[in-house]
């Protein structure tokens, strides 16, 4: 029956997969130090150099740990191989957690929440157990620094509510998720990922008017990508926009 527990249980099941440190090829002449601000736009070379330098660094400040977390997240975002993307997310999460240990900063909560979600995306059992903690970190980030990464905390928290298993199995709440994604688009229409996430959520949930809105959002996001260089992560955004357009 509809209330029967077996189906949602099966829908979430998964078997754990391990993570290992990713080899970053094609990187040369990297600076030895980790910068205290992320590169803009983030090229593959810049991002990989940050991660490579962090692996060698004896110690890092909280701000540097956040930069490494961000670099690993951006590298993972542009990665086509899912296992490599997960391993990079794991590595970034390690740094985000270290940053948080050193200093309770809302940006660190954002990276912990986002990278934790990325790292366990294919491990549903771990994801299900971690969802309330991920939500906690992202809520702190959304309250403390909603404009970080052009509405990143709103965008990621919104997507978490849209993607998570619905109540009572999980924290999933489509209405709340769509509301946050709309908010991210209103406050930061200049970031293509806000438009992409909203378009995906509207389509996946067949939300009212999605057939009209999705092509508009896709077109706007593609125009933004034409006008500005968003670096390495934009590779994947382009592919996802392309698949949404068809």
């Amino acid at each position: 029956m509809v209330g029967w527990a077996l189906v949602p249980w099966i829908a979430l099941i998964g078997i754990g997969c391990g993570a290992q440190r990713v080899r970053l090829d094609g990187v040369s002449e990297c600076p030895e130090d980790v910068p205290s601000r992320p590169p803009d736009p983030p090229s593959y070379q810049d991002l990989a150099c940050i991660v490579v330098a962090a692996r060698e660094a004896p110690s890092l400040t909280a701000a540097q740990h956040r930069v490494v977390a961000r670099a690993a997240s951006d590298l993972a975002a542009g990665e086509t191989d899912t296992s490599r993307a997960e391993a990079l997310a794991d590595e970034g999460l390690e740094h985000a957690r270290k940053a948080l240990t050193q200093e309770d900063h809302p940006v660190s909560h954002y990276y912990v929440g986002m990278l934790w979600g990325l790292a366990i995306a294919r491990r549903p059992l771990a994801a299900l157990k971690a969802l309330p903690s991920i939500e906690h970190h992202l809520r702190l980030a959304a309250q403390g620094t909603p404009d970080e990464d052009a509405g990143g905390p709103l965008r990621v928290l919104g997507m978490l509510y849209v993607k998570a298993p619905a109540w009572p199995q999980g924290i999933g709440d489509t209405d709340k998720g769509l509301e946050l994604l709309e908010q991210a688009v209103v406050t930061h229409p200049e970031h293509p990922l806000n438009l992409l996430f909203l378009a995906q959520a509207l389509r996946d949930n067949e939300a009212e008017g999605w057939e009209q809105r999705v092509p508009d959002l896709v077109r706007q996001a593609q125009e933004l990508l034409e006008r500005r260089d968003f670096g390495w992560p934009a590779r994947r955004w382009r592919r996802e926009l392309e698949s949404l357009a068809h």
Binding site: V2, G3, W4, V7, I10, I13, L125, W167, D175
Partner: protein, 270 residues
Amino acid sequence: MRRWGIVALLVLAPAALEARSLVLCYPGGGVKARDAQPSTEKMLRLVEQLGGWKAGTFEPFFTAKADECERWMVEKKPDFAIVTLGYWLDHGASDGWEPLVQPKVHGKTTEVFRVVVRKGTYRDLEGLKGKALGGTPLAEPRFVERVVFQGRYRLSDFDARPTQQALKALRALHERELEAVMVNDQQYRSIDSLPFGGELEAIFQSEPVPLMGVVGQVQRTTPDERKRLQKAMQGFCGHPDGKGFCELFGIDAFLPANGSVYDAVRALWK
């Protein structure tokens, strides 16, 4: 002797390697097919391992849409399926679907359906006639009328509004867009976790309804295959990869489904 072994292997190999399909229907469950499909595949890999099938033997098809479920059960001609009790009562016996296992959840192999309202607004279903009734179980009207209401009420007695997500329906109840919501056991147990949960009360409770599990198609599968799947599912919660999930979702075990368990609801269906 050795030659006989090879001959036997050649004869048996086609059957052993034959692809098997499983349709998984979850209408009104708030789980998206896109999200569920990979997980369903992983679950089946473990079932294959436990049942001694070659990895990849089973091909799963997940749907959260009732009409798609009906269509796939015909078009894809699955060998096994996970369907709702409503579907099985409607098509099961006539189409040759044999219940293989049922889950035991929180110590029970049955569940109860309730109708909840805002406290003090209605006392019984009589008073609710003509009023807006929502909830995920309404995705299967015949099941609700015949099994949950045991023929005493029809959904047309109410302003029935099936809902994809239970939370959405309960929120609408709280905001007075609905006057009542039908919930299953799991949803009812979790109502207290909602900020407005304390403002709701149940005014109707069904008789216990047996949980439905995995079914096998008797014309397309052999008794041995059905037995293997039954055994694999029975071992699922005891396996390290399956145990965590069983614990997490309060599933104690999968028990062999005894056809007689469903006799009472089948009598209601006629």
